[in-house]
């Protein structure tokens, strides 16, 4: 009788590098992964069912908690979907739209920083992870002054945003590193002049890092599309698709920015890393344009005619935006009442996690962890 060569290993749900409570079941032949399957559901919190029992504005804080590292983008998706339900009856003021975009892009920087940091830690470099926390703290201090919350904000309202930016938070374009946690300009200048070069020198151009990520977890463009990947995973494979450009929402069509795509043509972990790093630079460009506009154009931040009780007309709507991790989308059915009849959330992480059985076989265990880091999952969003 042939002897069993493979061992079955459970990575998780309690494992140091599963980014929360994910269980990956893997078959190993020595060090090589021959088969792997993610098992999700350990963080299921019934978001979609809960939303049916809450009024429309009450759902906003729940959306924060799906992808808790990128709360503002989720709020944007939901709030915009509800506004769409009203068929133009609610007109969001321009200033509120700029604030939303600015917050979205700051959130994207924040989220990508953690994505890069935790991927570096999965590969074995501890220090970049703590550097990412250093810079995230600064963003959180700014967000705390703007919204009152550090991680989960409940800042966007149907029809605008809760409050205008506090005085002095914008700063001036000459603000330097010393004001990085006090003004938005200070942070952006610090980010461009210090953080980006530091990441490039410390990790991106590190030879060992390149050994570990180049040629690992290759995802060809057609497969990426077939698996309905989005965000950095799709763009890492060389597909230039970004909802901010292709299906502009908010005021993205007025802004000037580029869509980075993977350059090597392999669609490996390194490409995904580089796309995220470059996206942070582009986000900082967008934030700068928003800050310039916001400084010159004061105005209201809430639509004038938002009913006290939000009762969208009967109908259904599907709205999608470019979240930090990919395409976040929301499908809402309204029966004309005060609470949604059904909310369906499309989370990019759930889609990306299905790539694991495709990407992992043939690689080593260490690569499995690197691939998991490179597709950047947040379990709160996978399980909802």
């Amino acid at each position: 009788m042939e002897q069993e060569r493979e061992i079955l290993v459970n990575l998780g749900p309690q494992h140091p590098s599963t980014h929360g409570v994910l269980r990956v079941i893997a078959k190993l032949d020595g060090e090589t992964v021959t088969w792997c399957q993610p098992d999700v559901g350990y963080l299921h919190r019934c978001f979609e069912k809960l939303a049916e029992k809450r009024t429309f504005p009450q759902v906003v804080p729940y959306t924060d908690r799906t992808d808790y590292l990128s709360a503002i983008t989720n709020e944007t998706c939901y709030v915009e979907a509800v506004e769409k339900l009203f068929n133009g009856a609610i007109e969001v003021p321009e200033r509120a739209q700029y604030i939303r975009v600015m917050m979205n892009e700051m959130q994207r920087i924040c989220s990508h920083l953690l994505a890069l940091g935790s991927m570096a830690m999965d590969i074995g470099a501890m220090t970049p992870f703590l550097y990412c926390f250093r810079d995230r703290e600064k963003i959180y201090s700014l967000f705390e002054r703007i919204t009152g919350g550090r991680q989960l904000y409940n800042y966007l309202r149907i029809g605008g945003v809760r409050n205008d930016l506090p005085e002095g938070i914008l700063g001036t374009p000459s603000d330097g590193e010393d004001k990085a946690d006090q003004t938005l300009w200070g942070f952006i200048n610090y980010f461009d002049s210090y953080v980006i070069p530091q990441w490039r020198d410390l990790v991106t151009e590190n030879r060992i890092f390149q050994w570990r990520t180049q040629g690992v977890g290759c995802l060809p463009a057609d497969v990426a599309v077939a698996y309905s990947a989005s965000g950095a995973v799709l763009r890492g494979s060389g597909v230039k698709w970004d909802l901010r450009k292709n299906k502009p929402y908010l005021i993205y069509d007025r802004l000037d920015f580029d869509i980075p795509v993977g350059t090597s043509g392999r669609g490996d972990c390194y490409d995904r890393w580089c796309v995220r790093a470059e996206e942070m630079v582009q986000s900082s460009r967008i934030v700068k344009q928003c800050l310039e506009w916001l400084a010159e154009n004061p105005g209201p931040v809430m639509a004038p005619k938002v009913p006290r009780v939000i009762k969208p007309p009967k109908g259904e709507v599907y709205h999608r935006i470019e979240g930090s991790r990919g395409e976040v989308a929301c499908y809402i059915v309204s029966d004309g009442g005060t609470s949604p009849y059904k909310v369906k959330w499309r989370s990019p992480c759930f889609t990306h996690l299905q790539l694991m059985p495709y990407l992992c076989p043939g690689h080593k265990v260490a690569d499995l962890i690197a691939i998991l880091g490179s597709i950047d999952i947040v379990l709160g969003e996978v399980d909802r």
Partner: protein, 396 residues
């Protein structure tokens, strides 16, 4: 006191001296462990914008002792399916080879706890011994992660053992002796530039990289890669059994740095305070060509405290330089550890067998050729070298 000592039988004297030496050098080794534990945390904190341990004792320096005490009072959990005798034996198997190198390392000039003729071979032999502990721990734990860690450990430590030994052969060829004391003395004979660091720079670099892998330190810490295989071979260990593994890891690191100091950095040799003054004075005097008041005054000051150069003071200077060089190497190792990502297991093997081993073999050839040239040219290169040293006027 002396009479009482002499009245003891000779055998008892030998035993007492032996026990005394052993106690002294084990304490010195363990002291290194505490300092290293703290340094590792402080240096990592410093590199990562953190503060590190700060509360316990002055600047947190009691922290390692508190950590050890905590480990000591923790429950020793033995999972139900383990191979009990081996599971309990493994921590000690790991500890013993970590302590043994200290027996041949000459910290004090001309005085070694056990002055073995085959010091270098002894070090290589016990260096290959700790792989047994790793494998026993990983196998007996009955855990898949432990087994993976042990598998990696066996492959990694055995392959890097070869590289490591090859990298120090050059030093042995230059000295013609395997005794660590002789190796240091051979380096001292020619001052700073006699350190084998310079002629054996290839060997030194290979040793530096190879020993990181042999010690399982990052970027080669595949055995306990926390993001991949939880804690590798130590996954099922807790309390002081785990503490023994940690203890031996740090002791190994300190021992590695001490051996490197002996082999490549001239051991205890280094200028004493009068040496520095004399050297500086000579330099100012243009090596006797341009005697002037300032230079003479500095030489005079050196003469005045010349007693610092001999006796107990000389020994203390030696200890200072030894520890100083050792900790520089340890700092470099920690610096690397907290900067670089981890390599993958196949890349590690490639690096060891396909790059480091050929390079160290090349180094052996080069050393042999140069040595043959030096002998056949009647020591001309050596004389040229020493002339250079004299011109630099460091330790004349």
């Amino acid at each position: 006191m002396v009479e009482f000592w002499q009245s003891l039988p000779a055998l008892l004297q030998t035993w007492l001296i032996g026990i005394g030496k052993a106690a002294l050098f084990l304490t010195w080794g363990l002291l290194n462990f505490c300092v290293l534990l703290m340094l590792d945390r402080k240096i990592s904190a410093w590199m990562q914008n953190r503060v590190g341990p700060w509360r316990v004792g002055l600047w947190g320096w009691i922290q390692p002792f508190a950590d050890l005490f905590k480990l000591f009072i923790k429950e020793l959990i033995t999972p139900s399916n383990v191979d009990r005798p081996l599971y309990k034996l493994a921590p000690f198997l790991s500890f013993v080879p970590a302590v043994l190198p200290w027996l041949v390392i000459p910290l004090i000039p001309n005085w070694t706890p056990t002055d073995l003729d085959i010091g270098v071979i002894y070090l290589a032999a016990i260096g290959g011994f700790d792989v047994i502990a790793v494998f026993v721990a990983g196998w007996s734990s009955d855990n898949k992660f432990s087994l993976l860690g042990a598998m990696r450990g066996a492959a990694q430590m055995i392959s890097y053992e070869v590289t490591l030994v090859m990298s120090i052969i050059g030093v042995v060829m230059m000295t013609g002796s395997l005794r660590l004391g002789d190796i240091i003395a051979a380096q001292n004979a020619q001052g700073l530039f006699g350190w084998f660091l310079f002629p054996q720079i290839i060997g030194f670099l290979v040793y530096l990289i190879g020993s990181q892998a042999e010690l399982n330190r990052a970027p080669f810490d595949l055995l306990e890669a926390d993001s991949e295989i939880v804690a590798g071979y130590m996954t099922e260990y807790s309390g002081f059994r785990w503490g023994f593994f940690m203890l031996s890891e740090y002791l190994h690191q300190a021992a590695w740095a001490a051996v490197a100091t002996c082999l490549f950095l001239g051991g205890w040799s280094g200028p004493s305070i009068p040496d520095i003054l004399w050297g500086l004075g000579n330099l100012l005097n243009g090596f006797g060509a341009l005697p002037n008041a300032v230079g003479n005054a500095i030489v005079g000051a050196g003469d005045a405290i010349g007693f610092l150069d001999v006796g107990v003071w000389g020994i203390l200077t030696g200890i200072f330089w030894f520890v100083f060089k050792m900790y520089i190497l340890i700092f470099v190792s920690m610096w690397v550890r907290w900067t670089l990502p981890r390599v993958r297991v196949d890349q590690l093997m490639d690096l060891g067998w396909k790059f480091l081993l050929p390079v160290s073999l090349f180094n052996i050839c080069l050393t042999g050729i140069l040595r043959y040239a030096a002998v056949s040219l009647d020591g001309l290169p050596i004389q040229l070298g020493s002339l250079t040293i004299r011109l630099l006027g460091l330790w004349i």
